[in-house]
């Protein structure tokens, strides 16, 4: 009986690894930008071709950068959460319209509501690549100095907002 203890023990160790591994989500690729300055860009605004928007315009405040597109189904899923957040007025949300048609983006916002103070228009997705965007929607929390503090991949949920994003935003705003 005793000779089974070692293989059994090894088996349980392997089961432990399997259990831990199954909980990991390979879709949540950690961003190498955490703690690094938000990559610069200077994009035309979605609603106003004559104006541009850049991260340095927002220095001095904490803000969220939300990458979205009119063709993105998950963005529709998170949209009510964003609208609700924009109404609460805790933090400005800047949208990045990723690989979209301008008219489609504008009418999508008209149809579903516009939570963004400003939307930047990234037609060819180059700014997206600069930010390491690989799937829409993604949300970045950027602090007053323009440093990325957090990246949330996938649709925002009330839980992730209340448990992670809003506490972080409040902490950064107090700093």
């Amino acid at each position: 009986m005793r000779r089974f203890i070692l293989p059994l023990g090894i088996f349980f160790v392997l089961i432990g690894f399997l259990a831990a591994g199954l909980k990991l989500n390979p879709r949540e690729v950690p961003s190498p930008f955490i703690g690094k300055p938000a990559p610069a860009f200077n994009l035309v605004q979605l609603h106003d071709e004559g104006k541009t928007i850049a991260p340095e315009h927002l220095k001095g405040q904490v803000w969220l950068l939300n990458v979205w597109a009119s063709w993105c189904v998950s963005c529709r899923q998170e949209h009510p959460v964003l609208i609700d957040l924009s109404r609460r007025g805790i933090v400005p949300i800047i949208g990045l319209d990723y690989k979209d048609e301008r008219e489609a983006g504008i009418s999508w916002l008209l149809q579903h509501g516009n939570p963004y103070s400003i939307s930047a228009y990234d037609r060819d997705g180059r700014v997206g690549i600069d930010y390491g965007v690989y799937g829409v929607p993604e949300t970045f929390v950027i602090d007053k100095k323009g440093v990325i503090r957090m990246k949330h991949t996938g649709p925002l949920t009330p839980e992730s907002l209340d448990n992670k994003i809003i506490p972080l935003v409040k902490e950064l705003q107090g700093a």
Binding site: P26, V29, P30, S31, G132, G135
Partner: protein, 153 residues
């Protein structure tokens, strides 16, 4: 009449031969470099494919980005580190050998060596056990069973 039409249609069908897709840039040396680098980068959407294989939009965008950077004169290493800066180590199709991935790369060899070690010790211990000679009774019984009860004497 019908046979003629179907024959003509078949001829028309065979006249369309699928050729190789024209490379995006006219420069085959550049394309070869793009291909080589693309085979080292992971598509983050279809995560088990390289961007060379994947047809996801992001993969195509990234390949175009690679091509542009090579045209600008960046080296292979610079292009790859551009991608790693933005997407992290996961974008490398082959995980880099670092402290954190040491176990990933050498773990299988360690396990194999451990297995060989266990085998060696087990075999040694078995060799130490003495073989007992069969008693006369057991020997007779064994012979009987082997001969299936038949008496061959």
């Amino acid at each position: 009449m019908r046979k003629l039409i179907s024959l003509l249609l078949m001829a028309a069908a065979f006249s369309v031969a699928a050729g190789e897709a024209p490379s995006a840039s006219a420069d085959p040396a550049l394309e070869a470099r793009v291909q080589a680098i693309s085979e080292e980068l992971r598509c983050l959407v279809c995560q088990n494919q390289t961007i060379a294989d994947s047809h996801a939009e992001l993969a195509i965008d990234l390949k175009n980005q690679v091509r542009e950077m090579l045209k600008k004169g960046m080296s292979n290493k610079q292009v790859v580190s551009f991608m790693v800066e933005r997407y992290g180590d996961f974008v490398l199709y082959r995980p880099p050998v670092k402290n954190t991935t040491w176990l990933l790369w050498f773990g299988p060899f360690l396990l194999f060596a451990a297995g060989l070690g266990v085998l060696y010790f087990k075999l040694r211990r078995r060799g130490d056990r003495k073989i007992q000679a069969l008693s006369a009774e057991d020997h007779a019984a064994a012979v009987k069973l082997l001969n299936d009860g038949k008496d061959l004497s």
